[in-house]
């Protein structure tokens, strides 16, 4: 299981990446993350919605109500141009982060795994 401290700071990026595919809402995004990662990563509800708040506050996404006439009303989110820019920045940062962390990760059998 992936610990929260590891992926922390990338939850926003994950959400933005899904919004690049089209507007969506909390529950759907949550399900998509599960599916895409084969249940390897499940974003907690509170994490998800607090990320929406943060992203909107920062101007990276915009919200609007759906037109559902039945069921609970959905809040849809749309990525903004500055959200796209931010997403790209995070992609570049991720690239560097991977390289940095990998310098400290050894091959698993290097220290006598058997």
């Amino acid at each position: 299981m992936i610990s929260s401290d590891v992926i922390r700071g990338y939850n926003d990026t994950i959400i933005l990446s899904l919004l690049l595919e089209g507007d969506s809402y909390g529950y759907e995004i949550s399900k998509n993350i599960r599916q895409i990662t084969d249940e390897q990563y499940i974003m907690k509800e509170t994490t998800l919605y607090s990320a929406f708040n943060r992203l909107e506050k920062n101007g990276y996404i915009e919200s609007y109500y759906g037109e559902e006439t039945q069921g609970k009303r959905r809040t849809y989110f749309k990525i903004t141009p500055s959200g796209i820019t931010y997403y790209k920045e995070k992609c570049e940062e991720w690239d560097i982060t991977q390289k940095v962390v990998n310098k400290f990760i050894k091959e698993l059998n290097e220290y006598g795994n058997n």
Copy 2:
């Protein structure tokens, strides 16, 4: 610059990876991280020393005083067997994390970089 939220949760792993090379102390580890990453990642002093406390509390490292007869006394750290186990677990976790996050990271020119 790598944001702290990204590498958070891997500071402990980075420290352990250096202690696998041999016992060391705060200042030296700090310098090594700078060097190894070409200044791409600089761990803050407070982060470093609070990580030492956490690691020791969890039994992943042990501390002892150095034999210096001059200069300020150093606290050396040594990785324990359970620290090695923990390190290996984090390596495996990192492997999964990379794969998961990479599913949400697009090629940078995919969305009209120009």
